[in-house]
């Protein structure tokens, strides 16, 4: 599916203006400091009220390798990745030729004039720019030029697309708020680009932007920051982590926020502990130790870390210890493509660890949910006394997304069934693993609870009875494991319900996480291009709410769209709903890039043209 051919190039010629609907791709070399330039462009368009998204495609390398940044501006609010690029900015000689070869007909190409790209295609609009000369002129200090040259293309693009120069200035001001000298230098470079474009480039492509009002009040932020904020407002107290792309920035952002906002004003002391562990085994071990002792604890990692955490996850499940595990998914298996996205750990987290285990999982799709589900995860972990996974991915975690501002939590922090010494005394014959309320969730006590140690108990990953005492009794083992199973199934009602858009169509689409954004657009495409109306179910938690089952049951065919090879979520759905197994067909995308609407639309259209063939596939 990732191989879908590009549409045939239309014959060249001046086209009608295309306003607020284009994708800009900047190709540079990593470590060259283009990030600020790209964000300036993104932010300026955003400030003009135009829905926008930015996707950074970077190598697993620190400096010197190709990197691409894509900005999509779309008046309809489509912010999924789009495969077709309208405006190319070629700053990297290593990839320029191939980038140009892959561009759709009619695209605009801004490039360093020395690259001579115009000889490779005749159906594109070429804008050569003497970047080296311009930067020499506007930046006297030679060693800064590598960085500053990027701001020149900002000026060029701004001129060609008619981006409001005032918004560029504002965005720059934000980026360099504490560095007036750098601000001046970068502004000069933008101006140089603007001036050059004005004087030398004749607009021949159709792409431009114009002010709208679709981003008013919105914020621009990456998913890892959103998750971090969710953790902070969830009242997280112990964070233990090990660096790994694309998860590191979650904890690193959290550290910054916590240092700023979580110092107790009364004592001047931290209300949290954040520890960089020696590896993921230690990170999850500390998180479990802290959860056991009553902290709201968490760790954050990616696939390789999840694999290493497997043994401890089973301990958390069986000994019933709350903690929260963020998995910012990247392309596996193994080290895979560390800087590419994927939904490849879905099956693995749901059933992580040997023996019979099943874990609550949350699948946020957006900034808003990255924030909210982080909060929900801590409440759920303590409500269910078990490790809870939050599965985001590189696309959500590391890219900039528009969002409504974060809403202050309405619910108070809920710490679940925790007893103090008096509470234990009040409860007749308390036992750590007794099912007092019939919901499978026992009452716990925290180590160090002041008093006589009435609530003291022994925690172990080996066989234990209702009082936490060691036992090898088969009957007790079954009773306990069945209770835990029931407890985890509470997720069906306690987890966030699926978001369902059902208007009685025959065909349903089911997706989760960031795949959402391609679905929104694809449904419109299917409707517009094929006349195919679709209903939509976005799964947000595992074990699945019964509404998921109802949705599948209510449709003739349901396409389960996901970003992995093995149709992992579909597999889970088939295990849970055998009676609906054949209703569901897989649509997969797994080349490491965020899924785009076109790929989904084409594949569903293909399958719909012969629906039976789709059945049972994957």
């Amino acid at each position: 599916m990732s191989q879908t051919a590009l549409p045939a190039a239309p014959s060249s010629g001046v086209r009608a203006p295309v306003v607020n609907d284009c994708s800009i791709q900047v190709a540079t070399v990593n470590g060259s400091g283009s990030q600020t330039a790209n964000n300036t462009l993104l932010r300026a368009i955003f400030q003009m009220g135009i829905p926008v998204s930015g996707k950074n495609l970077f190598p697993s390398n620190i400096s010197g390798l190709p990197t691409w940044f894509t900005i999509r501006a779309n008046k309809h609010g489509y912010i999924a990745r789009r495969k077709e690029i309208d405006v190319l900015v070629c700053m990297n000689s290593d990839t320029a030729v191939e980038d140009v070869k892959n561009a759709p007909a009619g695209a605009a190409v801004i490039y360093d004039e020395t690259f001579g790209l115009d000889k490779h295609r005749s159906d594109l609009v070429f804008y050569p720019v003497p970047f080296q000369r311009l930067v020499k002129e506007c930046c006297p200090e030679a060693k800064l030029r590598k960085l500053v040259v990027n701001m020149i293309y900002v000026g060029i693009v701004a001129h060609l697309l008619e981006i409001d120069v005032a918004e560029i200035a504002k965005a720059l001001g934000k980026a360099f708020s504490t560095k007036p000298k750098a601000l001046e230098l970068n502004k000069a470079a933008v101006d140089a680009g603007l001036a050059y474009a004005k004087a030398n480039l004749v607009k021949r492509d159709p792409f431009k932007v114009a002010r709208m009002d679709k981003t008013a009040g919105k914020i621009l932020v990456d998913g890892n920051s959103a998750s971090a904020l969710g953790c902070m407002f969830a009242g997280v107290t112990v964070v233990t982590w090990y660096p790994i792309t694309p998860s590191s920035s979650l904890c690193e952002t959290l550290i910054d926020y916590m240092k700023e906002h979580r110092i107790d004003p009364d004592t001047g002391k931290a209300t949290f502990a954040i520890v960089q562990a020696e590896d993921e085994l230690a990170a999850i071990g500390m998180a479990i130790g802290a959860g056991w002792a009553g902290a709201r604890s968490m760790t954050s990692t990616a696939g390789p870390g999840i694999s290493l955490m497997n043994e401890f996850i089973g301990l958390g499940y069986y000994a019933e210890v709350p903690t929260v595990i963020f998995d910012v998914q990247r392309t596996g298996p193994s080290t895979g493509l560390p800087t590419r996205t994927m939904q490849g750990d879905v099956l693995k987290t749901a059933y992580a660890s040997h023996g019979d285990c099943k874990h609550p999982c949350l699948y946020p799709d957006s900034i808003g949910e990255a924030y909210e589900f982080a909060m929900a995860a801590f409440d759920l972990a303590e409500a269910l006394q078990t490790p809870v996974f939050v599965l985001t991915d590189l696309d959500l975690g590391m890219n900039l997304w528009m969002s409504e501002p974060f809403a202050y939590p309405e619910q108070a922090i809920a710490r679940g069934k925790v007893l103090d010494d008096a509470g234990v005394a009040a409860m007749k014959d308390w036992g750590r693993y007794k099912d007092v309320d019939g919901d499978g969730v026992p009452y716990r006590t925290l180590p160090g609870t002041p008093g006589d140690g009435k609530g003291a108990y022994f925690t172990r990953g080996s066989g234990h009875d209702e009082y936490g005492r060691y036992t090898e009794s088969g009957a007790t083992y079954v009773r306990n494991l069945d209770r835990i199973g029931r407890k985890i199934d509470l997720m069906k009602t306690k987890g966030p319900a699926p978001v369902i858009d059902g208007k009685g169509a025959k065909v349903g689409i089911l997706a989760y996480g960031t795949t959402h954004w391609a679905i929104v657009e694809s449904r419109d495409q299917l409707k517009a291009e094929k006349g195919l109306a679709t209903d939509y179910c976005r799964v947000r938690a595992f074990p699945f709410s019964d509404e998921v089952r109802k949705f599948v049951a209510a449709h003739d065919r349901v396409y389960v769209v996901e970003q992995n090879r093995d149709a992992q979520m579909l597999g889970m759905l088939r295990m849970e709903y055998p009676e609906l197994a054949t209703k569901m067909t897989s649509v997969r995308h797994y080349n490491g890039l965020p899924v785009d609407a076109r790929s989904v639309t084409d594949e569903i259209a293909r399958l719909e043209s012969n629906p039976v063939a789709g059945h049972g596939a994957r």
């Binding site: 621009l220 502990a273 002792a293 301990l315 160090g448 022994f458």
Partner: protein, 357 residues
């Protein structure tokens, strides 16, 4: 067929007033479930000594967190302090779990019990990093040179040349956990022998008073798999070869006047502990100052080469900054901070939103 391990029945109420500690608690309040180890296992002696030490030191049971990994040794946290919380985690990873628990509640008194397999094989990485962080806890390695629970394979502390019952000879050098601990900055490093209960008791008392990580390597014979001729971790070998480097006793602050402790007489050296109390040391044959790191390491290397079995407090640095100190936490446990302390105000969120506009 029920195989539950019966808990020890609650001790009868003190009738004629049994001896109590400074908290007014009898020693029975420090006992645990009945041991299921082999009769004569060295680990059981250590368990009993821990009970004595914590009772004598008047440690509040509710404050103790008993941490362990997996192994016969790791099971023993169940056999003392029924009135404390215990966590029998996964094999070799107790250090992380113990660290996490202390992060959550810095008021816990953490007693970790591990084995030589649990610590020196699968757990080596975590052990090194626990030392490096100087996490404030007592860490006992009940060292029998074999994996007891999996039936007697050699562990990394087995001495070069020592023999299994089956006659298999260990051809790898042993890891000296004490040398490693000192090298990695641990501020309290001792070795003892489970048959030398008197010495172990005093070391444990002092360890409880230490502000950082107190590491105690206790040679603890496995009577089932490693107590035969040819073993260097047997009772016979230990009894014949143990050479205490000094006599020592720990005098807690409140006992200083009472003078009821078993303090070694003569030529004594005092080490004051910042949390209160004094270690009193009487030197034996050699002139050895456990505050001297280089001397300690040289002593260990020497005894490693000469295959000597020295016991005692090898190194003590009562001042070493511990991990919790570094984190700049307030005095209240993080675990139970009220919402008002851990959820910032709406104003903060508004400000953050503003910054992201």
């Amino acid at each position: 067929m029920s195989t539950s391990t019966p808990a020890v029945p609650p001790a009868p109420a003190p009738a004629a007033g049994p001896k109590v500690n400074r908290l007014g608690l009898p020693v029975t309040d420090y006992q645990g479930a009945k041991s299921t180890l082999c009769a004569g296992c060295g680990h059981d002696v250590i368990t009993n000594t821990i009970i004595s030490a914590l009772w004598e030191m008047g440690v509040e049971p509710y404050r103790v967190a008993k941490m362990s990994g997996i192994g016969c040794s790791s099971k023993t946290t169940n056999y003392f302090l029924n009135r404390s919380w215990g966590f029998n985690a996964v094999h070799g990873r107790m250090p992380a779990v113990a660290t996490g628990a202390l992060l959550a509640n810095r008021n816990l008194i953490s007693i970790g019990v591990s084995g030589d397999g649990d610590t020196a094989a699968i757990g080596m990485g975590q052990f090194v990093h626990l030392l490096r962080r100087n996490v404030p806890m007592v860490y006992l390695c009940e060292n029998n040179g074999v994996y007891g629970l999996t039936k007697g394979q050699f562990s990394p502390t087995a001495d070069y040349g020592s023999k299994l019952k089956s006659g298999v000879v260990n051809d790898l050098p042993s890891v000296d956990l004490c040398a490693m601990a000192i090298e990695l900055g641990c501020g309290f490093v001792a070795r003892s022998f489970s048959a030398d209960r008197k010495q172990l008791l005093q070391i444990l008392r002092a360890a409880v008073a230490h502000r950082g990580l107190a590491f105690i390597d206790v040679i603890s014979p496995c009577v089932t798999f490693n107590d035969h001729p040819g073993s260097t971790k047997s009772y016979d070998y230990g009894r014949a070869n143990e050479r205490p480097i000094h006599e020592l006793g720990f005098v807690p602050t409140w006992e200083k006047a009472a003078d009821e402790v078993d303090v070694p007489a003569g030529g004594s050296m005092d080490v004051d502990m910042p949390n209160g109390g004094t270690i009193k040391i009487r030197k034996l044959e050699r002139d050895f100052d456990p505050r001297d790191k280089v001397a300690a390491l040289n002593l260990l290397r020497e005894c490693h080469e000469k295959k000597e079995f020295l016991t005692g407090l090898f190194y003590v640095n009562p001042q070493a900054e511990n991990f919790l100190d570094l984190l700049d936490l307030g005095p209240a446990p993080l675990a139970t901070l009220p919402s008002s302390k851990v959820r910032p105000s709406k104003a903060v969120l508004d400000q953050i939103n503003e910054e992201l506009r």
